[in-house]
Each structure stands twice: as C-alpha cells, then as structure tokens.
Symmetry: D2
Subunit: 114 residues, 4 copies
C-alpha cells in the first residue's frame, strides 16, 4: 500500500456508497479536524503522551485515530488535486531554508513561529 | 519520496535542530490540530470549497497546509511506533464491513456515525 | 447566574475534586478545542445546520456541547486572569473600527480576513 | 455588559454588515474551532502555559483570542436559540452528580472521561 493506492481505494469506497456528494472540500476539512481532535483528546490530561503513559488499549485507539486523520487528509488532497508527497517534500525543503540548524537549535521560541 | 522516507527526513530535521525535546506526542497532537485548523480556515465561509471557489493563491496556501498536516501526522506516528499505511489499510477494511454498500448508500445519517 | 458566578462555581468544582493540578492553561486550551470539535461534529455533514436540520435530540446534544465550551473557556480565562466580558467588549469595539459597515457589507472575502 | 447584551450587539454587528448570510450554525461552529485553535497555538510548545511562561504581548494576544471564542460561541448559541448560562448551569449540576467528590478526587483517569 502507498498513498496513491490508498487514495484510489478511498475514492472507490466513497463512490460505491454514493458519499461523494458529502465529500466537499469544506466538509472533509471539518471531518479532518474532528478526527485530529479525537486524537488530541487522548493526550489532553497527560504529561507528554509518551508510550509509557499509554496502555495497550489507548495505543490501539490512537492508532485508529491516526488512520482516520490520514484517510481524510488523503481524500481532501484528492478532491483538490494536490500531490501530498510532493507538497510535503517542497514544504520540508522550504523549512530547511527557513530554520537553519545553527540559528534555531533547541529554541522553542523560534520553533513556535514554525 | 514515500511515507517511510518522509518520516526519516523529518526525524533528522528535528534531531539536527534539537527539537525532539518539544516533539512529545502531546505537543505534536496539538500542532496537528493547529495545522488542521489553518486548513479549515480557508473553507469556513465558502459554500463547498470546490476548486472553482479557490483562486490560485488560495490553492497554493491550502497545498502548504495539507503538507503541514501530513508532516505532523507522520512525526506523531513515528513517536508512537505506528505504521500509518498499515493502520489506514486496517481501518479501511474495518469500514468496508461496518458500512456495507447496500445499507448506507447516499445516507448522510449513517455516514455521520462514521 | 452570570459569568462571574459561573467562574466561581467552576473553580470550587475543580478544587473540591483536586483537579486544579490538571487545569493548566495548556490543558484547558486543549480541552476547549476538543469540546469545540464535538460541537462541529454535529454540523459536519449538514448543509447549514439551521434548526430545521436538527431534531430535538441533536439540539439537546448541541446545547450540552455549547455549555462545555463555555465552561472550559471560563475556566481558562480564570487561570489567566482575563475578564472575558471586558475582553469581548474591547474586541467588538476594535472590530467596529476594522470593518466599517459601508466597506464590508455582504462581502465574505473581507469577512474571511476577520 | 453581560451575555445577553453581548448577544444583541453581535447580532446588530452582523446585520449592519449583511453578514447574517455567512453566519449559518455550521459556519459559526467552524469559526469557533478556528479561534479555539488560534488560542491553543499560543500554548502548544509551552510546558503548562501558566502566566509565568507568558510575556505581556502573549498575554494580550491570548486575551483577544479568548474574546473571539466567546463572541462566536455567543453568536452560535443565538442562532440555535440556546440560553448559554442556563445550559452551563444545567451541565454543571449534571457534572456534580456524575463526578462525586469522594470518588474522583485527584484522578485524571476519571477526569478524562469528563
């Protein structure tokens, strides 16, 4: 499986159920943040959310939420004709220039402008 | 580029800047929702957010936000030892069983339980 | 009941349960967005979410989510020594100047810069 | 100023600008979470977000974001005919019963089911 294949499968999944009508970019962007929030919910009262703070059940639920975020992200990118991997590569290159190693090392203030 | 390579590059990016200390799962889950919100912001007053409603500048900004969401998602999955593609495959299979085509076709109420 | 009284009651509620330790501003800001997301979830597949689209059960659930958002907002303002009503008055006055009636009437683009 | 007066002023503000057309419950719920996210953004890389971690400029920005959240919350409640203070009183009473002091004291696991 890779992102292209996942994208195709999700498109077919929606088409078979006649759900494309609900999958406007606006609705998908809402669905994406709702899933991102279900993910955050697992961490909101924890100290850092490192694996040691999460039992197996929690880890499994989080895994599902991560999958949901990815699926809506891929669907939304599909509707907007965006190549996610190309966009990420480009953004990463942009960030390498914007945050030179020697200038931002260990500095959360710099980071917070990310 | 694929997700595994992106994951490696983002890890190196963070290590080189000594930013791993800020990248707790809890903080990454917050950063993820903040990026998802910047994405939603582009759509909040639009009717559907289809491409016809978005000029080139908007499309480009949205592309960057999609990349940001993917990058934090990949970082968070990395910190939690989750294989994103495997998790998505599994969830998609789960959804195929949960939402049989003949039962949910065109039904947003069913869908809303997604 | 008014905001000041609600603020006092919520503080006592947290103190009595020894939950102040979890109510850091950061955690409360997370909890606030999680509740805002549970609110959005009710609307994500609807057209506009006007009352006609919501049955009584939905309306009741939404009412509870609105209350949850208000309660976390009041708690967070309390922890940060912010007078919510004064802040809102000030912001509204600021917006009156920033968006003169004659310049922005019916214009969602202007609005989207809000 | 109180919530009722703020509600009236915000309604007039929107009417004068012919913005009621954009203020569907769905759009307001999106705007609310976008503001909640701008609030969270200030805390995402901080340890706890206590006042000692926030300089005066940050505190002022956060105050504005708190105001924005309140304003959209009040607008949304107005569109849905919800009395926010009554809803919060009711929910608080509900929580007093759901989380008896002696059973949940200092327990974040109980709390996380909140």
């Amino acid at each position: 499986m890779n992102l292209t294949k996942l994208c195709d499968e999700l498109r077919i999944f929606a088409q078979e159920r006649d759900w494309e009508q609900f999958h406007t970019p606006k609705n998908l962007a809402s669905a994406l943040i709702v899933e991102a929030s279900e993910l955050l919910e697992h961490f909101q009262w924890l100290k850092t959310g490192e694996l040691a703070e999460l039992d197996e059940r929690k880890q499994n639920e989080i895994r599902h939420e991560l999958a949901d975020v990815l699926m809506y992200l891929v669907r939304l990118a599909d509707k907007l004709d965006v190549d996610l991997m190309a966009a990420a590569s480009e953004k990463l290159e942009h960030n390498r220039i914007k945050y030179p190693t020697e200038k931002v090392r260990g500095d959360s203030r710099k980071y917070s402008e990310y």
